[in-house]
């Protein structure tokens, strides 16, 4: 057979010039690198705008000063205002912390329930519901919080808290309803779905054979979850927490509606204050050019915070992953 006449081998070269390939390549490269460009453009612009404020107050003076008085100049000559962002930074940190403290344990419980305890036919509807909760726009959360949750639930609860723990500085009155704690609680509800979704995912991929091994050693269900599932899922839980924290810090509209928008800061969680994002959103319209620079400076600080949290989360996950040898998320 092979000795007989053979068809000439078809050419291995492309029959026509292919443009799609290099074009696609360039397009994808461009899209990929544009991320850097966008980030750089944003950072450079906001930092340049905010620079005079940092010069005027000093960077740490800006972060720690607790007086914020908007000036009225065009932003060219001497500043007439005082820009100390501490009240807003404090508000942001406190509300985000409250949110995490409430949402994390709750999310762990919800995730464990969905994965390990809920009846099989309830598991999917439950996880869909959690994801739906994540899809609710924050303005809706804000309105619901302000017009329903605060008057119907939080006000009575806060009143009780103040009457019982009022001697402790965190729960000093008077009770307004709106304030750090109200904003933190609504934030907790808002970040609950994202933390739950990630933790659920992490727990779901935990190898069943390891759980069975623990059961076979006489572990109860609770012990298996606490000593086998949660430790190996730790890096994922940290990641989820950081994502939730990031969202809590950046959340604007719901916090703006619930925190009270004052320019002072108070120790008590029941008092009103303001957060960085909420302050920017509430005041940028009526600000003088000088004050806008002040808001830019808050924006820069906010960005720095979220960046630090992200880097910290990555370092933590990386470190834990190395020690435990588990698959990081």
């Amino acid at each position: 057979m092979s000795a007989t006449v053979r068809d000439p081998q078809p050419s291995l070269r492309a029959r026509r010039k292919r443009l799609a390939d290099p074009a696609f390549r360039w397009f994808v490269t461009l899209a990929g690198t544009s991320v850097f460009v966008i980030l750089a453009a944003m950072v450079v612009r906001t930092t340049t705008d905010a620079w005079p404020i940092f010069q005027h107050e000093g960077f740490f003076g800006f972060l720690t000063g607790d007086r914020w008085v908007s000036g009225s100049t065009r932003g060219t000559g001497d500043f007439t205002g005082t820009y100390g962002a501490w009240p807003f930074i404090y508000g942001t940190l406190v509300t985000a912390l409250i949110a995490i403290v409430i949402a994390l344990p709750l999310a762990l419980c919800v995730a464990i329930y969905i994965n390990q305890l809920a009846p099989k036919r309830l598991r999917n509807p439950l996880s869909y519901t959690v994801e739906m909760l994540a899809a609710v726009p924050s303005i809706v959360f804000g309105m619901w919080g302000l017009f329903w949750l605060v008057p119907n639930v939080l006000l009575p609860v806060f009143g009780w808290l103040e009457s019982v723990l009022g001697w402790f500085f965190l729960f000093e009155g008077p009770v307004f309803g709106r304030g750090y704690l109200a904003a933190g609680i609504v934030l907790a509800i808002m970040i609950l779905p994202i933390i739950t979704a990630i933790v659920r995912e992490v727990i779901a991929v935990h190898p069943a054979d390891q759980q069975h091994a623990a059961y076979a050693l006489g572990a109860t269900r609770f012990e298996v979850i606490r000593k086998v599932v949660l430790p190996s899922s730790f890096s994922g839980i940290v990641g989820a927490t950081m994502l939730g924290l990031g969202r809590a810090i950046g959340e604007t509209i719901a916090v703006m509606m619930l925190i009270g928008s004052t320019k002072s800061w108070e120790g008590s969680l029941l008092r009103m204050g303001d957060s960085m994002a909420a302050h920017i959103a509430a005041t940028f319209k009526d600000s003088s050019p000088e004050a806008v620079k002040g808001l830019m400076a808050i924006g820069v600080a906010l960005f720095l915070f979220t960046m630090i949290i992200n880097v910290a989360a990555r370092l933590l996950v990386w470190r834990i992953g190395r020690v435990a040898g588990d698959a990081a998320v």
């Binding site: 759980q211 069975h212 076979a216 006489g218």
Partner: protein, 322 residues
Amino acid sequence: MITTTEAPMGADTDTRTDAAGTDERSPETVAAQAMGLEPTDEADTGETPGTEAEERAAGDPEPEMDAVFEIEDLSVHYGTTLAVRDISMRIPRKRVTAFIGPSGCGKSTLLRCLNRTNDLLDATVGGRLLYNGEDIYDPRVEAAEVRRRIGMVFQKPNPFPKSIYDNVAFGPRLNGFSGNLDELVEESLTRVALWNEVKDKLDDSGLALSGGQQQRLCIARAIAVSPDVLLMDEPCSALDPIATQRIEDLIDRLKTDYTIVIVTHNMQQAARVSDMTAFFSVRMDGGKGPRVGELVEYDRTTKIFSNPSRQATEDYISGRFG
């Protein structure tokens, strides 16, 4: 007690008649000898194949034996699917009992019933399963307590992503062990012949070991809680021949202290390590219908591999089927 017998073979009476007719010295005897199994005298001169012998074949080859498990009419459902049915047998203390049979015959299912790990797979168990005379499926019995006494080694080595030390110490810590943990870890690792290989790296991850070492680590982890029984679900199927050999040696040493029940796909392995062998098979009604696992024959390993009472057993161990 011996209700299983007619169920497994009820459908193919013809084959059974064949079995009764064939010469006792079947070619398989030769095969068994090749495996190093001398057929015992009683295997040869025992009862002539017949109904009486067959009724005796499943369930209770040695009525006088000291049984750890007494299984009576056990059947297991996963959801609405019947997985195994009507198993009755007694598993002797401080012996190695092997479960063999083709895939889907329910041998692993039965094994998992013995320490209630089947609970985790939503199985429902009917019949009775007595462990030292106590029904482990009694509602008042705590599954975790059962599993603490009846340890398990799995098909795939499954150490925790923790250090070697913590892997072995996991069970004792869980159960509130108050003695010298270091000694216990060393003792457990020594018993599985792993101590010399790992004593300088107890803090390394258990996952850093080779497959065979991991499996021995898992056995050490299981015996660290001093169980009474060790269940092994195809413990060598993920291992190379040398690692397999070491596990088999280990089983041989462990059987002086533990009752061992091992599920294996490897018939030579069953022949090498076990004292008793149970052969399971799948019954399919008319070639379709549900596949249900059943106990076909249960006897001394020497008998099963040299002179089985059942044609189906003989077919399986001689490689004609499965």
